[in-house]
């Protein structure tokens, strides 16, 4: 396979044109001592049908969600993706373009991102949203860096109910940048208010709480907000399941300062965890400290409305070592997918989807709780994820579910040994009542309580 269009004869003519006898003449600036004197040690080229066959064979070794009903969430969610979403965001005028440096030729993407920013503001009830960041975990990092500010110093308080992978990521950046992380423990599967109050000091720059939290539980955000804002700290709300915003109170309603979220739920394929979609929203007065691209509305020299990248003096290509962030390439195409997804579900559909998640998850939780040995680990309200104590080791249950072509819940002991044998289940609107019943029956068989 080659995508180089010019023939050998054409390339020879071009070489003559530039006064070279061979390509070697053009490579002359590369010293002999650093030249690779052998071919790269890679598999030989394959034609298109052979590449397709090879990749198909690899793909088929994976349990895809079309064949394996999944009750696993924990940061990645299996929601219905309307057909229009991939059909439209895969239009190649979009996906083969780049960052819209020349706005007059990129109005389509710029307008879509402006619509995206608006929709993120609507979902979160925040005042401004950016054009996307890499994913939820790095969005939380960017929010934290913004709160910490140019000194890079200070303390940041983080709930133990924040996604363990997010906490791990944050820890690396805290070390590199030089700020201190303090972890706050749990009470009934939610951030302990007492511990939070004790952890906040005059040096605290931010408090990070996930909502719904990693266990799917809803936090007492109003109380957390009070405690946070009683000091000068900023409240950063992490969201891994933005579908929840169709039914639960958004961060703007409880005075969050920054929202850092994962937007994969909004129309992007799960894709083994990437590419994902970092959502970032904040209050207007903080916008000049925010990371990432921003699209703004303006006018052209003919008096027409148009869209441009704006407030770029925050960014690395202008501000270099004093930039608010080092981000350049972001996740525009997934932002576009989210925009089309949200337009497609619309005002009613987005609420209806969220209510289905809520109803189906509660139905599943109640059904599983009827099985001897299974009981809810926590008593707090939840959205579409819930933790259950299990009568057998969680790995053993999951292995048996795998034999029945079902993807089981998240084994909490991987990150929270204090809870013992427990599974975190996720049930979205995509799961059917039959699938939930199949899961419950399987759990009965596996744990020996089947009649």
């Amino acid at each position: 396979m080659s995508y180089v269009p010019n023939t050998v004869a054409e390339q020879e003519a071009m070489l003559r044109e530039v006064g070279a006898t061979s390509i070697e003449d053009l490579l002359a600036p590369i010293p002999a001592e650093v030249r690779l004197k052998r071919p790269l040690d890679l598999p030989p080229a394959l034609g298109e049908p052979d590449v397709r066959r090879l990749l198909m064979a690899l793909a088929e070794q994976n349990a895809d969600l079309d064949h394996y009903p999944s009750f696993l969430g924990a940061g990645s969610y299996d929601h219905v993706i309307p057909s229009v979403v991939p059909q439209l965001f895969k239009r190649s005028e979009f996906y083969t373009s780049y960052t819209p440096y020349q706005p007059e030729l990129s109005q389509g993407m710029l307008q879509a991102i402006y619509e995206f920013q608006t929709m993120v503001c609507e979902l979160t009830e925040m005042e401004v949203a950016n054009a996307s960041l890499y994913d939820g975990s790095t969005s939380v990092v960017e929010a934290t860096l913004m709160a910490v500010g140019p000194s890079g110093r200070g303390e940041v308080v983080v709930s133990r109910a924040l996604d363990p992978q997010y906490r791990a990521t944050l820890k690396v950046y805290a070390w590199a940048r030089g700020f201190t992380l303090r972890e706050v423990g749990l009470e009934d599967g939610a951030t302990s208010l007492t511990a939070l109050q004790e952890a906040i000091t005059p040096d605290t720059k931010a408090v990070i709480v996930q909502h719904p939290n990693f266990f799917g539980s809803l936090e007492d955000m109003r109380a957390i907000e009070k405690v946070t804002h009683a000091s000068k700290a900023l409240l950063i709300v992490a969201i891994t399941e933005p579908a929840s915003l169709g039914v639960i109170a958004p961060p703007g309603a409880y005075n969050a300062d920054i929202v850092a979220a994962e937007g994969q739920s909004l129309g992007s394929p799960m894709g083994y965890g990437g590419p994902a979609l970092g959502l970032f929203a904040t209050r207007s007065e903080l916008v000049r400290r925010a990371p990432g691209r921003l699209v703004g509305k303006t006018v052209d020299n003919r008096g027409q409305t148009g869209y441009v990248l704006t407030l770029q003096t925050r960014e690395q290509h202008i501000r270099r070592e004093r930039a608010t962030s080092n981000i350049c390439t972001n996740q525009s195409l997934l932002a576009l997918a989210a925009t089309i997804y949200l337009a497609s579900l619309g005002k009613q559909g987005f609420q209806a989807m969220a209510r289905q998640c809520l109803q189906k998850a509660h139905h599943a939780q109640q059904r599983i709780a009827e099985i001897p040995g299974f009981s809810p680990l926590f008593s707090r309200p939840f959205f579409d994820e819930f933790a259950m104590a299990t009568p057998l080791p969680a790995e053993q249950i999951n292995a048996a579910l795998r034999d029945r072509s079902i993807i089981g819940g998240y084994e909490l002991a991987r990150d929270y040994p204090e809870f013992g044998d427990a599974l975190l289940f996720c049930v979205t609107e995509h799961r059917t009542r039959d699938e939930i019943e199949t899961l419950a029956t399987a759990l009965e068989e596996i744990t020996g309580s089947a009649e």
Partner: protein
Amino acid sequence: MSVEKLIFEKGAPGRHSDVLPAMDVPEQPLDDLLPAEFQRATPAALPEVSEIEVVRHYTHLSQRNFGVDVGFYPLGSCTMKYNPKINEETASMPGFARIHPLASESMTQGAIQLLYELERYIAEITGMQRVTLQPAAGAHGEITGLMIIKAYHESRGDIHRDIVLIPDGAHGTNPASATLANYQTVELKSDKRGGVDVAHLKEMLAKYEGKIAALMMTNPNTLGVFDERIVEIAQLVHDAGGQLYYDGANANAIMGITRPGDMGFDVVHLNLHKTMSTPHGGGGPGAGPIGVAKHLVPFLPGPLPAHGREGYYWQDAGPQSIGRVRANFGNFLVLVRAYTYIRSNGPDGLRHISESAVLNANYLMQALKSDYLLPYDRTCMHEFVLSADRQKALGVSALDIAKRILDFGMYPPTIYFPLIVHEALMIEPTETETLETLDEFIAVMRQIAREAREEPSLLLDAPHVTVVGRLDQTLAARKPDLCWRPDVRAGRPAEVAETANTR
């Protein structure tokens, strides 16, 4: 010549498309499941449109956008090459697109195998020992690489190294990443030939003795010039106890010809959305895996893909690892595309790509240097930088030239970068352009040079045939309008909307 309404300005109350599954469980009262204090008070004001309206709206927007599939896109340092369609097909296979990152290893054997093999391909192409596939983009690779360097120095008790040297032609992400890793940056001058000024480097190494953590470099650099003194530079930095970071944004020039590892670099990132043909997505997603030399392997983020008797698995990072730099394993579907591309091209194909990219760039450079100033007149690699200084003397800027190029149905070069060239026009044609397209671009650039002399208003008022004319950037920044407000639709004055929207 037209305005496309926002999606919020289309549709009608109650309009929607039916895309949800059946609600097939017995419905319970909302208040029983969700106490009132947790409930959302007002629904998000999302669009109320039918399916056909969604389809037409975003189809129209796509028609107002320009990508590589539409035409020539010589945006320097961005490597806007053709994105093979087979890559899109493989990345869409349900066995890749619809798999859960936390599903057990036994359910994701194909995914781990692909990443295991891709890691080895990238290590071979860059000449490094091991690779992490986690970073989501080049800048993410940079910060990851700098953190690895930091951990390395710390592990040796070498804790006073707080300076990163960065050439004046570097990408803006380099200094921004250095700050993020808590380093001070010191700028290195370029010499007259466009390479690192070695005398200045020596001076800085002496001045900051014992304090140099790293030198970040692109080679070929942002002038498109290969730094011939790279071995000497590497030696100097290593002798001073520093590490060498390779910004791989320009790797499209070197595949199969030379490798950063062989030049002496300790850390390398590759932008797969540039060199490995994965689409740029209107700004992303990309992928910025980094490779490291042997002594830095213990510090790599984990987990890493591994292979044992029971198949493929994720191996936890060792005790010296910096930890993870994001959730999950990387931009997997981008990595699937890169894997597809490497398997399609093979070792000879990759070398042919780089050679052809160098040839295309030299062909354009030779043809354009009579009409535009070429500040560094020497054989270039995959890109080159012209200056519009001559045109500037006539009252026409690089920006005006770029805007005029739009009228010819082509995307302009990168402008005003690198900062060391006045009125810079940075041109990277890539290997996937035909001779006819290159000739067409030459003709356009020559015509524009003529217009600059004879009819400059054509440039000053450009573009003329795009859907919008030249946009007011200053207004956008002075009064930021970043979000459409429903209040405006109701016809209320903007001031009222402002207050109403204050939360």
